[in-house]
């Protein structure tokens, strides 16, 4: 092999002499600006990601509905909160009670004896007209935050005839134990150590054999 260092030097010198545009200071400064912009973009994306992580950690409600915090199991049997829980010894009398609060996904549940018919209005709007058989419930849609809501409920004998308004006003009282509850399925939980909101009732209706899920569903 005749390769010598001089061959190498000569080849490198010749090869590097081709045509080229060259590099100016303006080119370099332009490149500096590009590098800095890229670096800022990278920092920006890192900062945005970090901000998202921090916000997701500190404000989980912005991103997803957080599951109920784990509390004492006996006090948090469900993710629903009973806003109203009333029991009555007789039917035929319209019971009216207000409630308020930040409510959503309201469910009205009634437990009344067989042979009766439950009639319920929420804010003067009929939400239930159903024959009784253990627990019955109906989804009443969304309550309004901060608004004073009014629930009216009555049970009448199933055999009674007439339109709802007439039945509610003209049915004479009769002996029948029944109860009504308004539940907010907001995912809130209440527990002994969590500061129970005033007027809210815990525990909920998930007692053995009395759970709404054991009753008649809507429709």
């Amino acid at each position: 092999m005749h390769l010598t260092e001089n061959d190498l030097r000569s080849l490198l010198a010749d090869d590097s002499g081709g045509w080229h545009r060259g590099v100016t200071a303006a080119d370099v400064h332009r490149r500096v600006r590009r590098l800095r912009a890229r670096r800022w973009r990278a920092w920006g994306s890192v900062a945005a990601t970090a901000g998202t992580v921090v916000a997701a950690t500190l404000l989980p409600g912005l991103f997803l509905r957080q599951p109920a915090p784990a509390g004492p199991a006996a006090d948090t049997p469900s993710r629903s909160v009973a806003v109203v829980a009333k029991s009555y010894p007789s039917g035929g009398v319209v019971q009216e009670f207000p409630f308020s609060g930040a409510l959503r996904d309201l469910v009205v549940a009634v437990r009344c004896p067989a042979g009766s018919r439950a009639l319920i209005w929420l804010n003067a709007k009929p939400v239930m007209d159903r024959s009784c058989a253990g627990w019955s419930w109906v989804s009443a849609g969304l309550g309004e935050v901060g608004r004073q809501n009014t629930l009216q409920a009555v049970i009448v004998p199933r055999s009674a005839e007439g339109d709802v308004e007439t039945l509610a006003l003209h049915t004479p009282p009769y002996a029948a134990e029944w109860e009504v509850r308004v539940l907010s399925m907001s995912g809130l939980a209440c527990g002994k150590d969590r500061g129970r909101p005033e007027g809210w009732v815990c525990p909920l209706i998930t007692q053995p054999g009395n759970s709404p899920s054991a009753g008649t569903g809507p429709g």
Binding site: D15, V28, R31, V32
Partner: protein
């Protein structure tokens, strides 16, 4: 203190040489320009910390950037519909020594190619090359010896040697 005017003087004075070095490292003029611009841009961001002689610092950025690009870029086969022209059996004379040497140089690993270029093109002493490549002068010498051996043993260079003889 080094300032913008000082840097621009340096670019004007040294960019042509740096560009030729960069071309010998990557064997592609647009890539060489890209390489030099990137190296000088990085040097400018640290210009105030660069000493009286910026060359070792800039050469170091240049070779490091080339090595990182060389690692990242794919150096495999390029599929093509047309087969390249091949020398006919008796046509080895067409395959000159220089072409063989170029092929052998391109086949060298990035660090060995850098040693060859800095030593035989930029005429830098082994100590300076070691400073640029972040290794000792002895390592530079061993890398150079290996590179030269590879050049001599490269199949294309071997062909050239036979045809020259």
């Amino acid at each position: 203190m080094r300032d913008r005017a000082d840097f621009e003087l340096y670019v004007e004075a040294r960019s042509a040489r740096l560009l030729r070095t960069a071309y010998l490292l990557c064997r592609d003029w647009p890539t060489a320009e890209d390489l030099v611009q990137t190296a000088l841009a990085k040097a400018w961001t640290a210009w105030r910390r660069v000493g009286a002689n910026p060359d070792p610092y800039v050469y170091r950025i240049l070779t490091n950037t080339h090595a990182s690009w060389w690692r990242r870029r794919w150096h495999g086969e390029v599929p093509t519909a047309e087969l390249p022209e091949r020398p006919h059996p008796g046509g080895l004379d067409d395959f000159g020594t220089r072409e063989a040497l170029r092929a052998a140089l391109v086949a060298l690993p990035a660090k060995q190619r850098a040693v060859i270029v800095l030593r035989y093109f930029d005429d830098l002493p082994d100590e300076a090359i070691g400073e640029i490549l972040d290794c000792s002068a002895a390592t530079v010498r061993s890398q150079a010896a290996r590179a030269l051996a590879k050049l001599r043993l490269h199949p294309a260079a071997g062909v050239a040697a036979r045809t020259e003889g």
